[in-house]
């Protein structure tokens, strides 16, 4: 059964065809690329689909199963690891569950919220250039190749291969700017069709540790007045082009969330731990640990973690400083 693409998607692609007829070549290409990405974002939400995908980074490959559907207007989704220790994400409308083994439980923490969604290919910022590649075949399907280029080495580039018929992403990579991939997400099998039954999204039986994650509407969390004030005395002098402060949580540790709509970085500032300093790149995710002194002279550990090249994470860490002028 071939599922008709939702109206929004067809309008998007219809607009795409009109655009490529009217605008100049380069403008049309850029506009078309963004239109394709918007169509992809819409398709991922609106369609019901099930698939198996592989996720590769460094030298490890993991296989996952994805089931995506709707109950009424709410999005339901289940993403499960198919190898290694069992782990699952279950989304039921506003509820999110991370299911895993007992010892994977994370202590609940205040969850900072952001105004604009991250990793939103539907709204690629102007600091990236979007280009259409040539249509190719992926997994036996005709796919539109799209390149999202940061134009400098401070951020990663992205490549996507979107199914021409459904606009669903068949393959996505994150690459060094003009360089090798650091991450590949690829559907090995995909089926689009009827809505899965509600039973497909049921919580599994025991033994399972459920870690309900706070729903998206949670308010920005703040600690006491004193802690919040201290958090605000940190300043970051350098961020990659286009990055903004998305959210901050004045807690222990302080968490600052930075991002540009595609990539995000979390800066943890902790006065109570002392790890070894290090700088590492784990596939797409850089991790840098440095130690700085705050305005009051106390040492703090700054841990910068994000989907940026490690050099950018290092630079963010080094640019963190006390807001107060030295006394």
């Amino acid at each position: 059964m071939r599922r008709r693409a939702p109206l929004a998607l067809r309008l998007c692609l219809g607009g795409l065809i009109m655009l490529s007829g009217g605008a100049t070549g380069a403008e049309a290409t850029a506009a078309s690329g963004r239109a394709w990405l918007e169509a992809m974002a819409a398709a991922l939400r609106a369609n019901a689909y099930e698939g198996v995908l592989s996720y590769a980074r460094d030298d490890a490959v993991t296989e996952l199963r994805l089931v995506h559907g709707h109950q009424g207007s709410a999005i339901y989704e289940r993403l499960s690891r198919l190898d290694g220790a069992p782990k699952e994400m279950l989304r039921r409308g506003d509820e999110l569950f991370l299911l895993g083994q007992e010892d994977e439980a994370l202590p609940p923490a205040a969850v900072p919220r952001v105004q604009h969604p991250v990793t939103n290919f539907g709204d690629v910022p102007e600091t990236y250039q979007v280009q259409l590649g040539t249509p190719v075949r992926v997994g036996g399907r005709r796919a539109q190749h799209i390149l999202v280029d940061p134009q400098d080495a401070t951020r990663f580039a992205y490549q996507l291969w979107l199914d021409e018929e459904t606009a669903l992403p068949l393959r996505m990579t994150m690459n060094y700017h003009q360089g090798a991939p650091v991450e590949v997400v690829q559907f090995r099998a995909l089926a689009v069709g009827e809505e899965p039954p509600e039973a497909a999204f049921a919580l599994a039986g025991q033994p399972v540790h459920q870690h309900p994650v706070a729903p998206a509407q949670a308010a920005l969390a703040h600690g006491s007045e004193g802690v919040a004030l201290e958090a605000l005395r940190w300043r970051i002098a350098w961020v990659p082009p286009g990055f903004q402060l998305l959210a901050e949580v004045a807690d222990q540790p302080v968490m600052l969330r930075l991002g540009d709509g595609l990539a995000t970085v979390t800066v943890f500032i902790d006065a109570e731990v002392e790890d070894e300093p290090l700088a590492a790149q784990h596939g797409p995710t850089a991790a840098v640990v440095r130690h700085l002194r705050h305005c009051d002279g106390r040492p703090h550990q700054v841990t910068v973690i994000g989907e940026v090249p490690v050099g950018s994470a290092e630079r963010i860490a080094q640019s963190l400083h006390c807001a107060d002028p030295p006394s």
Binding site: R2, G140, R141
Partner: protein, 197 residues
């Protein structure tokens, strides 16, 4: 959940283009090759409706002739085989409900009727024996040949794509697939010998 898998374009969909272009330009022999390709499948399709093998042959022949006449109206937006199927199904239904209606081949003399080659009933996809021989021969192939053919027939990859995967030039891919086909052809030839193929 009963999901319908994506209707992946069959590997041969792109393969029809060269012949289709010439058939659309009026080349009978190009159409004949396409007809030869799809005849067994169309026969299987109409057998669900007409029940008799002889009738199925007649219906398929009729459908192919009609398709040839209707070629100018083929827009090329659907797959050629899908278009053929629709014609064949219609002819089959019509044959069942109105068996006395004249078939194309009995049509008026001025109707252009190309000569379409037909081979014998051994060209039967359902033949388990044929499939067993083919798969046995496939397994016996040297690995490089088997892989190239498998990637082409099962994955529908282009020669260029196969070349990337196998890290060989396209010419080598082409040669390997050809040699694999020759070996399988040699294996099934005895089964089709009676037909003079």
């Amino acid at each position: 959940m009963a999901l319908a898998a994506l209707e992946y374009p069959s590997p041969e969909a792109g393969a029809d283009q060269a012949l289709l272009k010439r058939a659309l330009a009026g080349d009978h022999h190009a159409f004949d090759l396409l007809a030869l390709k799809y005849r067994p499948r169309l026969k299987h399709l109409v057998m669900r409706t007409v029940k008799s093998v002889d009738d199925a042959d007649d219906v398929v022949q009729d459908a192919l002739l009609r398709a040839f006449r209707a070629l100018p109206s083929f827009r090329g937006d659907a797959q050629f085989y899908t278009w053929l199927c629709r014609i064949a199904i219609n002819v089959a239904k019509s044959h069942v409900t109105h068996p006395s209606r004249r078939l194309m081949r009995d049509a008026e003399p001025e109707t252009e009727v190309p000569e379409l080659t037909q081979f014998g009933p051994e060209h039967d996809l359902a033949s388990e024996q044929l499939q067993a021989v083919i798969f046995s021969a496939l397994q016996a192939l040297p690995e490089a040949l088997r892989t190239a053919l498998t990637l082409r027939e099962f994955e529908g990859l282009s020669y260029e794509e196969i070349g990337h995967l196998m890290r060989t030039p396209v010419g080598t891919v082409r040669s390997r697939i050809f040699r694999a086909r020759e070996a399988l052809d040699a294996a099934i030839a005895p089964l089709l010998e009676d037909n003079g193929l």
